[in-house]
């Protein structure tokens, strides 16, 4: 019995370690995205290309943060996802409204 729990414990630690490895890879990718974002602005690439690319990089980076660092990819995160996406939807409407208000 004691041996059994010990095995379980080992298995869990190994699983945690593998997850941590993924987290470090995520982190490296996020650093890379940030460097690309700053690089594009510093080297003054075409504005029409840079702005949408910056926004896409930001959204992907935030996705990494949410799904890996904040564990939203784990089981039992249906309600958190609902809350966050509802929040993001209202956030989108808010930004849209405030931008359209000053359009003309």
């Amino acid at each position: 019995m004691a041996e059994n729990t010990n095995l379980q414990e080992q298995y869990r630690k190994k699983k945690n370690k593998e997850e941590m490895k993924q987290q470090v890879i995520t982190f490296v990718l996020m650093i890379l995205f940030t460097v690309i974002a700053f690089g594009m602005v510093i080297y003054e690439l075409d504005k029409l290309f840079v702005i949408p690319t910056l926004l896409i990089l930001a959204v992907v980076q935030v996705g990494f943060q949410l799904y890996y660092f904040m564990h939203m990819s784990h089981k039992g995160h249906e309600m958190p996802a609902l809350m966050l996406y509802a929040g993001a939807f209202v956030a989108f409407l808010t930004v849209l409204t405030l931008s359209v208000l000053i359009w003309w």
Partner: protein, 206 residues
């Protein structure tokens, strides 16, 4: 199982942050709160986007912002996000002292970020005469970025309080959810910062 029971490797549940009803409630309640925070920051972002050209003949975004400091701040905050992931990794492996160590590193990186931000604001106010009152752009900028800085300050106080309060208690099912939620808050601060450095600084100097 009593929720106050001190954990040891034999009794550690797989997800200590959600092993008790109180932990589950905290977890859900906190994500509700984050949904609301998203909207709150969106209204500040929307205001900034609407007003960032109203400079009242003062300096605009392009003249003010220097990317070097913002890059350093971004790296500090992003790294502190990873160190708090490490802290939660050690929490799940039930090694309290390592968790405390990584939380301590997170706090130091957060303090570094805050120091840079204070330096930046000081420079704008005393070097450039760019204040909260100098233009609508100034008001929108300081409200948005300052509110994020306020979140950083609050997060630091939160994490330090948890570390000090539980220093002699060790890890148990009562405080594991508290640590976990503080780390979620810290990640969310980084989420907001990603949009701030993209929308305010990078898109500001283009």
């Amino acid at each position: 199982m009593s929720s106050d029971q001190t954990l040891n490797p034999e009794t550690l549940p797989e997800q200590p942050e959600r092993a008790t009803l109180e932990g589950k409630n905290k977890f859900l309640g906190f994500w509700f709160f984050l949904g609301g925070e998203t909207v709150l920051f969106a209204s500040l972002f929307g205001t900034y986007l609407a007003l960032n050209n109203a400079t009242n003949d003062g300096p605009g975004a392009e003249e003010l912002f220097g990317l070097e400091l913002v890059f350093i701040m971004t790296m500090l905050l992003l790294t502190s996000s990873l160190t708090s992931v490490y802290a939660m990794y050690h929490m799940k492996n039930n090694s309290f002292s390592k968790m405390q160590l990584w939380l301590g590193i997170t706090v130091l990186l957060g303090l570094g970020f805050l120091g840079c931000e204070l330096y930046e604001f000081y420079h704008y106010i005393h070097g450039e005469g760019f204040t909260l009152r100098s233009s609508a752009f100034g008001s929108a900028f300081y409200t948005l970025v300052g509110f994020h800085g306020g979140h950083v300050t609050f997060g630091l106080l939160w994490i330090v309080t948890l570390m000090v309060r539980n220093a002699k208690r060790g890890l148990n099912l009562y405080n594991a959810p508290k640590f976990y939620i503080a780390s979620l808050y810290w990640h969310f601060i980084d989420v907001v910062w990603v949009f701030i450095f993209t929308v305010v600084y990078l898109m500001g100097v283009i």
